[in-house]
Symmetry: C2
Subunit: 200 residues, 2 copies
C-alpha cells in the first residue's frame, strides 16, 4: 500500500562520484556541497539514502573494497608467493597512477588522521586495509605449506610487508610520483619475497 515517490538517481552511480571526491580530498576535506554536486543530487537526497557523511563514506568504502576484492582474487591466484607479490605491487603501481582515478588509494587518502568527531574514520580505513592483508597472509600460509616459501619464512610478516609497501606506494602516488617510479619500488620490493622463496 503506497510505495512512495521513486528515487530519481542511481545509488551506485552516485556512490562512484562520491568515492572520487573522498579519494581526492579525504573524508574531512570533502564537503557535502562538493559531494552533492558530484553526485548530482541535493543534500536531503544524500541524507535520506546514506544517513550522514560518515554513512556515505562507509558506502563508498564498501563499493571500493568490493571492486578491489575482485582484483585481489586475481592477485592471489598467481602461482607462487613471489608472483603474488609482483602481480599485486605492479598492479598497484598501474592502478594508483591511472588517470581515470584520483592518484593513490582511497583506503589511504580517505583519512589517516582526523579531527575530533571523526576519530573512527581512520580505524574504518585501517580495517579495510587489514582485509587485504589477511587475504595475502592466507595465500602466503598456503605458499609455505606448499614449499614455495622457505620453512624459516613468516607468512604473517610477509603479508604485513607487502601491505606496507602497497600503502607507501599509495602515498607516493598521491604526491605526484609517476608510474615508472612506483614500478621501480615494486620491483625492488619483490626481491625481498624472492629471498624467502625456495630456489630463489
Amino acid at each position: 500500500m503506497a510505495m512512495g515517490r521513486p528515487r530519481e538517481f542511481d545509488a551506485e552511480t552516485a556512490l562512484d562520484q562520491a568515492m572520487e571526491v573522498f579519494w581526492r580530498h579525504g573524508y574531512e576535506g570533502a564537503t557535502i556541497a562538493q559531494l552533492t554536486e558530484a553526485m548530482g543530487i541535493n543534500p536531503p537526497s544524500l541524507y535520506a539514502c546514506f544517513g550522514n557523511k560518515e554513512g556515505l563514506l562507509r558506502a563508498a568504502l564498501d563499493r571500493y573494497t568490493k571492486l578491489r576484492g575482485v582484483w585481489m582474487d586475481e592477485v592471489v591466484a598467481a602461482p607462487t608467493a613471489r608472483d603474488v607479490a609482483e602481480r599485486m605491487l605492479m598492479g598497484i603501481a598501474d592502478k594508483q597512477t591511472d588517470p581515470a582515478n584520483p592518484p593513490g588509494c582511497l583506503l589511504v587518502q580517505g583519512g589517516i588522521a582526523c579531527g575530533t568527531g571523526s576519530e573512527n574514520v581512520p580505524f574504518e580505513l585501517a580495517a579495510r586495509r587489514a582485509q587485504n592483508e589477511d587475504q595475502l597472509r592466507d595465500r602466503f600460509v598456503r605458499a609455505k605449506a606448499e614449499g614455495d616459501l622457505i620453512q624459516t619464512s613468516d607468512p604473517v610478516a610477509l603479508a604485513r610487508y607487502v601491505s606496507a609497501v602497497a600503502v607507501g606506494m599509495g602515498v607516493m602516488a598521491s604526491s605526484s610520483a609517476d608510474r615508472e617510479a612506483l614500478r621501480q619500488v615494486a620491483s625492488v620490493a619483490v626481491q625481498a619475497v624472492e629471498a624467502q622463496s625456495a630456489g630463489g
Copy 2:
C-alpha cells in the same frame, strides 16, 4: 628605541606542542582552539608569531625535520647500504611506536589529502619526505661506487623503496600496529637491499 613587550612564551616549546596536535589530528583536523590550548597561548599570540595556521604547520615541520635530520645523519653513517636500511627502518619501527609521541610520522599524519584551500599542505609534506629520500639516494650512490651495492643496482630506486616502506610503516603505526609488527616489516624489507648487496 623601544623594543616592545617581550614574548611571554617560548616559541620552540610551543611549537613542540603544536607539532603534537598536527601529528595526532592532521592539519585539517587540528583546530586553532586545540593548538592554542596545547601551546598555552591565545590566538592573537599564535597569529603574531606564526602568521596563520599554515605558517604554524610549516614552522612545526621545520622543527620536526630538523630533529629528524640529526637522526638521519646517524642512519646514513652506517657502514653499508644494508646497514643503512636496517638502521633506518628498525629505528622507524621504534620511533613510530614511541609512546612519547603520537603514533606514525608527522610527514604522513600531517595530511595526505586536504580540502579546498589547503591543497598545498600535502605538497609541503611530500617535499619534506623527498629530502629524506634524497639523503638516502646520495648514500646509496656512494655505496654503489664503493662496490657495496652490486653494479646492476639502481640507487635511486633503492632510496625510493626504503622511503616507501618507511611511509607504509608510518601508516601502519598510526592504525595501532605494535612495535613488533613494524620490526617484522623492517626485517623483511631489508632483505631486498641485501639482495642488491655485494656478497649478500
